[in-house]
């Protein structure tokens, strides 16, 4: 059973908000890379065409457009916060098994409802506030510089990251050292998210092409602590970096994600949980390739 988080070239992808500036810019790049974009969704521009693709008022309409055998598999949201919950529900109703929610600043109440509604419909949400997912050499969904071979290269290291920019840097460090990637899963920087660190690690554990897993976490919340059990149960080598060792407690680093309050979510508690689970926890991103080598993981791809 393929994991819903791994997007292949066979998956039919619709872009909610494709006609906007960012939607246009990134749709062209996703398509050039090999992502199978089949349609755009824009409630106000249904019936038109954009970038040579049909635009529908809803994903449900897009899924029905090609007759009984048509449908969609994945949706990516380039929509403003106020429209995200409805767009995700539309994608789920249209039969998407994965919705990539790039939108930042979605009210937490909407995120909780959106994730619960999607789960009810059997749809996986990754995000919100994610930069997306990359299946190097094959597809990417979101706004990742996957098209730059100095950054993302095919290989066998799976990466899970809360942060888009730090996740991208991790790919740079891996590729430079000769470690291509089997998958990049950006789970997003919000406290409430559709796919947890634990679920993303579990997906990579079950992913045949992934031989080693890199977890990029940060202070705040309990996502890394909760992933420790999955890390412990995995036979694959795991290297982790947790950003925020030098950050003062009680200060909010960034808009929503990283804040240490009381004794929860500290760098120490995350490092301890992952170390006890058998992961190698490094102090800087550039130490990741060396840690993989020390665990017997050979460079691959690139």
């Amino acid at each position: 059973m393929p994991d819903p988080l791994i997007v292949t070239r066979r998956h039919r992808v619709v872009v909610h908000g494709m006609t906007g500036r960012q939607g246009t810019f990134w749709t062209e790049r996703m398509r050039d890379y090999g992502t199978n974009i089949v349609a755009g969704v824009s409630p106000a521009k249904g019936g038109s065409r954009h970038l040579g693709l049909p635009v529908f008022t809803s994903a449900v309409e897009a899924a029905r457009a090609g007759g009984p055998d048509s449908g969609i598999d994945v949706s990516v949201l380039f929509v403003p916060p106020a429209g995200a919950r409805a767009a995700a529900a539309d994608a789920a109703q249209a039969g998407a098994h994965l919705v990539v929610v790039l939108t930042e600043f979605i009210p937490v109440a909407d995120t909780m409802a959106m994730v619960a509604e999607a789960r009810e419909a059997g749809t996986t949400i990754i995000g919100p506030n994610t930069a997306g997912v990359v299946n190097p050499g094959e597809t990417f969904v979101g706004f990742m510089p996957a098209f730059d071979r100095r950054i993302f290269a095919p290989g066998s290291v799976g990466v899970v990251s809360r942060s888009g920019s730090l996740g991208t840097l991790t790919a740079v460090e891996l590729t430079r050292a000769g470690y291509g990637q089997s998958s990049f899963l950006g789970i997003g920087g919000d406290p409430v998210s559709g796919t947890s660190t634990a679920e993303a690690v579990r997906a990579l554990d079950g992913h045949r092409r992934t031989e080693a897993i890199v977890v990029i976490g940060e202070i705040g919340g309990r996502k890394e602590e909760e992933a420790a059990a999955v890390v412990a149960a995995s036979d694959k080598p795991v290297v982790a970096f947790i950003a925020g060792a030098a950050s003062p407690p009680g200060k909010r680093m960034g808009h929503a994600g990283a804040i240490v309050e009381g004794s929860t979510g500290t760098h120490d508690s995350k490092r301890r949980a992952l170390t006890e689970a058998g992961a190698t926890v490094v102090e800087t991103p550039w130490q990741i390739p060396g840690a993989l080598a020390a665990l017997g993981v050979a460079p691959s791809g690139v």
Binding site: I151, G164, L169, P191, V192, I216, R222, G254
Partner: protein, 377 residues
Amino acid sequence: MRLTEAQAKLLFAERNIPVPRSRLVTTPAEAEAAARELGGGDGGPARHQAMVVKGQVGSGGRGKAGGVVFVENPIGAARAAARLLGSELKGELVVAVLVEEAIDVAAEHYLSVTVDASAGRPVVMRSGRGGIEVEAMVDEIEVFPLDPVDPASTPGIADGLERSLVELFVKCDALIVEINPLAVTTGGGLVALDGKIELDDSARFRQAALHDRFDPGPAPTGSERERRAAELGLRLIELGGEVAVLANGAGLTMATMDAVVAAGGRPANFCEIGGDAYTKATPALELVLAQPGVRSLVVNFCGAFARCDVMTEGVVEAWERLRPQLPVAFSVAGTGRDAAVDLLRSRLGVEPHPSMEAAVRAAVAAAAPATTEGSEV
């Protein structure tokens, strides 16, 4: 946005959650008048009725920090107000105090509605022991999960005060509404002695009236540069080291700070220009360079959504205008990298370092006190 106690209690009262009678004041004279009005007697010992004077800040742990003062009479209220007003409580400036009638308390409970981020749903938290920091009573809290789609419809919400609190949480798009302590009075009633509400800033688009009503929240704190950054929508936290850090995204910025420490330096700041702030590199750089004690700068850009060329152009413009005599080390990768490198070469005559490690090490080395190189035997 974190509301002050007085603001939270206004919202409680509007939902028929009992709160003590109180007046919000900003001078000692007003505090004295308020105490008199609330029945605090004429200052003599005969008609003694206790009052509480409480500094209004957004942070918790206020009582322990001396921000809650029990007084016997209006003169005492004026004295307490004089001491609290203008002082700093938990890093926040006190610009108002709440003068409140004291309540005869038989027991202190705890009640809140908040977000369980791991479970992805709101929860009611109840405890028969209140009045202390919530971390200290974790084992005694009963957690009651609410429906994530329609929290107020969850079967099992206690009628009365608990239902009111859940409805308040939903109606105002809160991240937390908390009553701690929830007093059981000697008469058997319930009164919210303290209140904490944090509103979800992301919900402002549909809560404009509520946010406008309480804006500004607690007085802004931190250095002048931190406050200026906040006004510009930038997140700047000054840390006192000598290596200034400019990066995009919270994760990468924190990682760059960690790297400075790993390389033997001390970060001067957290300054993040990711997300929608990625076009604000110019003011960000100005603020970072204005911090005393800064001896070098590391710029670490890794473009995904935020484009390296746009961020770098902002830095280059600020650099040309400010002409700082400061060593700077760049690392750029990701979306817009090649255009960013061209900008650095053509406009600043600077060659970016080949990796984050090289850039961080260069900035740390440049910030180190002048060595005795050359004078060594």
